[in-house]
Symmetry: C3
Subunit: 280 residues, 3 copies
């Protein structure tokens, strides 16, 4: 069975996701379809890009990841498919595929431990992109409002069914990208980063790699107007209700409240600056 | 793998849907189970009927669609299975199966472009219905509160496993139905319809077929107390925040707000009259 | 296809559940993965335990049930797998596996009709438990914050792929447990119980077995300050809005409001005492 994953902002109420699954199974009956998320905030491209980047490395080689967070559906934005070393990606050309386009891996799944660099608008080595412009790999009739059903699901299903990647469309070399996480080490030994994702538990996942903190120093963390004293071992480590910093499952520093909700406690959200300062 | 879809108002919290899947896999292990929606508003038969009608045509031939929105569970209402040209349907006899019973297809999936007609309480040509009254195709013990688990899931699984449709129960010729969409062309060239569905994005899907609008005229649309000037090409077409009318993915006219929520903006919901008037 | 079920408090927004599915399919590609619930209230071990106990008996023999409601993730609490007569279970050693550990079945699925007894902290006959302490059955790198991905999903997948249960880890004989439902028959013929679960519809599922009520008596039920006169046949039985008692699908007494929400109407929740008194 080939695996196709779906990440959208469609929610599960209207049957849009189910419709995409019907399209996929009509083209490629032997497919395992897995939901990654359908509760991406409406049109939040960066959130979808992060959630997919955090989950995708855990899927089998050759998985096809479909992401449809697509406020520009029906406009002139292109529809893309990518091929990377381990997976395929299908989605709109609006930056939602920036992580695989840039070959950017999160630290917990093999990403770099040193300074991260990336250049927008170009393809990382080993990544290929095509525009989904072949009618034979779309539904016969393409609407202007539901490309998830009419273009993206069919493309993913044809890939899963064995259609060669290069047959899907015309090569693209200038895909749209969004800024990716870019934490920085300063000369004084401190680290500047930001909140990258707020999860359901209210944990604040930052873009600071935990490996950067695995030194002999202990650290002081700043987030909003609050100070946190060194890393805790787990969410459960510390008095209930205390603000803590932990090594998260993506290899990224997380700000949490033991038994509570850090985002609500601190009233901060994605983008909030976070810093780590060595303690002498 | 046979495909069984599920549409309910059960939500995903209590494990009711998972239980139905366990029942299906116990009877028919080689089944692909696909969720269409479990967030139908409580007991909203018309919403479930529409959502299923919009998704079902995209599934492989022979798919078994189970729908359990069933406020009368345990009462004397019958449990039904239907066979149509392309699919099976399983659900309560409360009107939730009205679209397939009437052979009513939405315009975007092969429905009629001209006036729509249908008669309630009878079977369309080529549609058969049976009452699920055979104990051997139910769970051994049938509760009065969870027929999704005890009657509908087993019936669907037996169909998926190859039990002949006619073996499932006694033929039914007078199923319950609800009124289906019935937009009208008036003598002055205008069209009268209504809002059929409000989706998660706040888009208002009307019952007016887009094909009716594909004439040389341009149109004025009325919804609530607001006026919309002609069709837009996509959600993205127009200033952000402007009210627009677009050709929706079901072949139906949709009222939307570019980058916003039309239902909230207009304070209208399902049933609201919508009209289209030719502009001279 | 082996079946693996998932029950968590992760929600579906952040991709955590999708990540677990990727891990499972990477290890055991031929697996059917079924969601039981991902909307368990945060850290509510008793709720997860009940929901799983209500759904698990309806799955095929040999199903692997994974439950991750795990406020103590990364602390010293153990990770467990269980083998019972019909299924495997994988989850944290925090009581969430108490039903299968105690061999406790709900009445509607073969549980005892007479007084229920159980002893905490020990294994029921025929139940085996191991601690998931073998590195080869975990992901190569184990975080302190996401054992669902790093420990539980891999263990379940290895079981599904045929790894012998006893190979997964060191036997455990003193698992943690939570109090299980314990309704009581009093000498005067009355029954004392409590609300065990509040479902999405606002139905209050109590721990009182319906079989205890199947006598020649009629009954008076007390819940909160309200009185209910005898059992109704179904949710639909009685005036809309009236408070009723019905035989629920788990073989347990349920308190409901016909066409309404009993939990909201009564302002009661899990733990509320419920009693049944014979009427003479």
């Amino acid at each position: 069975l080939s695996v196709v994953t779906l990440t959208t902002d469609f929610g599960l109420r209207d049957g849009y996701v189910g419709t995409m699954k019907g399209v996929i199974l009509s083209i490629a009956p032997q497919t395992q379809i897995v939901d990654i998320s359908h509760d991406i905030a409406l049109g939040k491209i960066a959130q979808a890009a992060y959630v997919l980047a955090s989950a995708a490395p855990f899927f089998p080689d050759g998985t096809v990841h479909v992401v449809v967070v697509d406020p520009g559906v029906g406009s002139s934005r292109r529809a893309l498919a990518l091929r990377t070393a381990g997976a395929y990606y299908v989605g709109p050309d609006n930056g939602v595929l920036s992580y695989p386009l840039a070959g950017y891996r999160l630290p917990g799944v093999g990403g770099p431990a040193s300074e991260l660099t990336h250049s927008a608008g170009s393809l990382a080595p080993g990544v290929e992109a095509v525009q989904l412009d072949r009618p034979q790999y779309r539904l016969p009739s393409v609407s202007n409002t539901f490309h998830g059903r009419d273009i993206f699901a069919p493309a993913a299903a044809h890939l899963a069914a064995g259609v060669p990647f290069v047959a899907l469309g015309t090569p693209v070399i200038d895909p749209a990208t969004i800024p990716l996480p870019w934490p920085q080490k300063l000369l004084d030994g401190s680290i500047r980063g930001a909140v990258l994702h707020r999860d359901k538990f209210g944990n604040l996942i930052t873009d600071i790699p935990v490996l950067w903190l695995e030194t002999r120093q202990t650290w002081l963390f700043h987030v909003g107007e609050r100070l946190i004293d060194d890393l805790s071992v787990s969410y459960d480590d510390g008095r209930s209700g205390s603000l803590i910093a932990v090594a998260g499952s993506q290899g990224l520093l997380e700000i949490a409240v033991s038994g509570g909700n850090a985002a609500d406690t601190l009233c901060v959200d994605v983008g909030e600056p976070v810093s780590a300062t060595p303690r002498f």
